[in-house]
Subunit: 282 residues, 2 copies
């Protein structure tokens, strides 16, 4: 370890990743090893091996997903919509470079095609190679990787998908547009007439305004909207929200949930819609 | 701010609380103001005003509860047992110096007496004065403050309580004994013949062994045991477990949950028992 990537600091004998993007709270992780570190065309990409979270995908110095808990987020953003749509055949994932959402979607035998639109090819490559607890070394022939800007891609597709999963990072920099109303309008057009979408809508505690705005857009654009929640330890506060916009289907159709999962099961699929009091009285 | 309490560091122009008790992960909070800071007979006690979490109770440099989310923990540790016991009259709280659990228990008109056994009088005093978002400036005449060691107190009481709430800090230092089997044996004896207890049983992700051991003790000592979960943003990973040990009552008796709360409602009281797959397949 002669030349250390930026974002890492030596404290005493140990190397630490010190997340530095938040104004009022910093989380630092003690690091065992640097598996991969290089700049891509879009951002600085690292796979680090940490003590408490195992391997982590780190973009521009910010932890995105980890071996310890990546499955929670990916199972929740994927199995909930795929358990509401009764017959999903064509699935689009926007973002999701860790491949976890595509890995979960591939567990549905009825799904015929999964298009994954991720702007940064390097993220996909290193997650497939070095972060297999999350990516599952995804090699399903139904998954098509499209290295492109999700904003542009969605404008060019109409009436094409049963389910669209927006697996974005935080609404800063390029991902900011993934939280704007025009983007959700284009998603509505890209869905079939009975299609549904889901997006991560940030923390109900720390990003209340982003969450409210996202929910507001989706409520205006879709006849059916639903919020659900999960605990994602890697994200600040651990308390995370997802929002569904649906043209037709509302209720879970899952009869016997039979996918192999670590977090989601049939009772979680139902109780994730039970919101705390402060979220019900908006 | 001439003489700064230890645990606080100046970084750039700002003061930060840097939690330093964990081996592999550190969380730092940017601080607006120091409301109170002094050593008690047992520990170093601070009330800090932070940017993201509002006021925080900090013991020996570790955040215990905050204005932002203290209610989640306190509502969950209190309303779940008090919604399972059909007629709780005498409630014992061991620990709980922030007064939040006592504040929640006092919302039940049928409760006649709440004994709160907290070793550190200073914690109670400063929370009542400076952390009213959590303590509610508790002044209910049914609440009796007993400044004593919970381990000793419980040995001297038999067949005395309907509900016992063990609101302990982490199992390090003096709180370690609050996780030992003999303590739960004494709790069983202190409960009436149809009584029930609840304790916080740490994080299912980061303290798996402590949680397993606690659940194991309670399963051995009580005919009925149940695990439930909540998201508590202040605690590492946000994902927290509670364990109930009950002599008789098993199911929620709540018909119309009518307490004024910010987090708990009737659906949360039910769905908190829906465990993720990795906790069901122990």
């Amino acid at each position: 370890m002669n030349e250390m990537p930026k974002f890492l600091q030596k404290i005493g004998q140990d190397w630490w990743l010190v997340e530095d993007e938040r104004e009022n709270m910093k989380i630092s992780y003690r690091i065992k090893d640097i598996i991969f570190a290089a700049p891509s065309d879009f951002q600085h990409v690292m796979i680090l091996d940490s003590y408490d979270f195992g391997r982590m995908l780190v973009l521009d110095g910010v932890v995105q997903t980890t071996s310890l808990d990546g499955h929670i987020y990916n199972e929740m953003i994927t199995h909930v919509p795929l358990s509401i749509h009764p017959d999903p055949k064509r699935v689009l994932i926007i973002g999701g470079g860790d491949c976890g959402a595509a890995h979960e979607a591939a567990k549905y035998s009825g799904v015929e095609r999964i298009d994954m639109v991720e702007i940064d090819e390097m993220v996909v490559r290193v997650c497939k190679e070095h972060l297999q607890d999350v990516s599952g070394n995804l090699s399903d022939p139904r998954v098509h990787f499209i290295y492109n800007d999700g904003i542009e891609y969605i404008k060019q597709h109409k009436n094409a998908y049963d389910v669209i999963i927006v697996d974005s990072s935080d609404p800063i920099g390029p991902a900011k547009q993934l939280f704007e109303r025009s983007f959700y309008e284009n998603i509505r057009e890209a869905l079939k007439e009975d299609g549904l979408m889901v997006c991560q809508s940030q923390s109900p505690l720390f990003h209340r305004e982003v969450m409210k705005q996202t929910v507001h857009h989706i409520e205006e654009l879709f006849p059916i909207s639903k919020i659900y929640i999960a605990t994602v330890p890697t994200y600040p506060g651990g308390f995370w929200s997802f929002t569904i916009g649906s043209k037709k289907y509302k209720d879970l159709v899952v009869k016997n949930f039979d996918k192999e999962t670590k977090y989601v099961n049939e009772s979680i699929l139902r109780s994730c819609f039970d919101l705390p009091e402060f979220l019900r009285t908006k």
